[in-house]
Symmetry: D2
Subunit: 133 residues, 4 copies
Amino acid sequence: MLESSQTIRVRYNECDPMGIAHHAAYPIWFEMGRTESCRAAGCSYRELEASGTAIAVTRLEIRYRRPVRYDDLLDVVTRVERATRVKIEHSYEIRVDGVVTTEASTTVACVNRDGRPVAMPSILRAALGVDSD
Amino acid sequence: MLESSQTIRVRYNECDPMGIAHHAAYPIWFEMGRTESCRAAGCSYRELEASGTAIAVTRLEIRYRRPVRYDDLLDVVTRVERATRVKIEHSYEIRVDGVVTTEASTTVACVNRDGRPVAMPSILRAALGVDSD
Amino acid sequence: MLESSQTIRVRYNECDPMGIAHHAAYPIWFEMGRTESCRAAGCSYRELEASGTAIAVTRLEIRYRRPVRYDDLLDVVTRVERATRVKIEHSYEIRVDGVVTTEASTTVACVNRDGRPVAMPSILRAALGVDSD
Amino acid sequence: MLESSQTIRVRYNECDPMGIAHHAAYPIWFEMGRTESCRAAGCSYRELEASGTAIAVTRLEIRYRRPVRYDDLLDVVTRVERATRVKIEHSYEIRVDGVVTTEASTTVACVNRDGRPVAMPSILRAALGVDSD
């Protein structure tokens, strides 16, 4: 299924007194991965949200194998592992100089402006290659 | 085993355009849970780190059941589920007005200033009630 | 005019590889100062926003005199220096163990949901002690 | 003096319930501006810090003229306005589609690992074009 990759440089404020990226910075990078993955497939998350559908994260799992450091260039690889009409499962890998430092996965669901689950809009289904039936 | 609870008010900057707390804010609240849990048991994480031992998160899992909102008062309950001489597993619940909104767990390991795994210092073992043998 | 004080503990993720609070954490603490100052005067910022009026920061100035560290307990003192029908100027001091570490000031303006300037709602004017004429 | 420009995309988590970038996100973008400005002039901030000299922000001023939004592409222009042997003053402009949304300035000083002021290292002086006498 859909796979995309992007490069993210670790920001100074994302690092903690241990001199490594704080573990709470990673979900932000994965969200950027989803956004760019979606954009590459022809679906702007900004337009999706403007049209009334937001994406809510319902599950997050991260395995921190090795630390990443200030100014490191991260390759964040995002894959759509599974998509149904109501939710999407992504997996992620972060690599620095070809070495996998982090593995993660999330489940997201489409919600309306009141936060209630809604069926995935057709533009997103098309971007993800999900059958409409 | 060790259980503690603390109240955290959701900050404005922690909330996103959906009007709810962003999912990357939660690991920060769980870290505060670990810190206060540790302090309540007589072990200051600041002193631990000053003595040369840091705590590295190696695994994080979060289930977001219901959103939390700006200015909500969160009850963050932190439990030590298991502790060995090299790692600690915590579980967490967030409740708002008695309703569980979020469940999570982490694994942390002690590392030295170079990021290498080290045995848990005795002050932390004592705080956690881990046998020294 | 209105002055209030609150205690904020420096979070681990707010600190950077220098081992001190990152300079971008401070505006968040000042926002908490404004929120609590407002609440103490009988005006909930959450309700204000729910009623359609938001507070936009238009100016921020900070003098960082001394660093603050992980786990420090900050006394954040917030003062309303001036309030007109369209904007409010606050000043702030952060003290640790009685020593002033930081001085700051902001200007905020009321805006509607489209981001356009609006007159300050009466509940906020009353909280701030601003004449309605 | 030295001027550089870089493009930064506004992240989802940087935006607040008003749907615009939170005002505390901006100092982070300016820090990225300083880092890249420094790198373009042949000085890696990471190496500088590894060699024992850190850069502490002592003053920050921001004028928020217009909001910026999720997914906006920001042109962040960073200029060295003045540099002495102990401090550097930068100014910043953020532009979206050619329109200036934000103006800012900072003062930074070199400090050693204990946070004490030190003279600017020669590599940084050279990068900034500061006379060594």
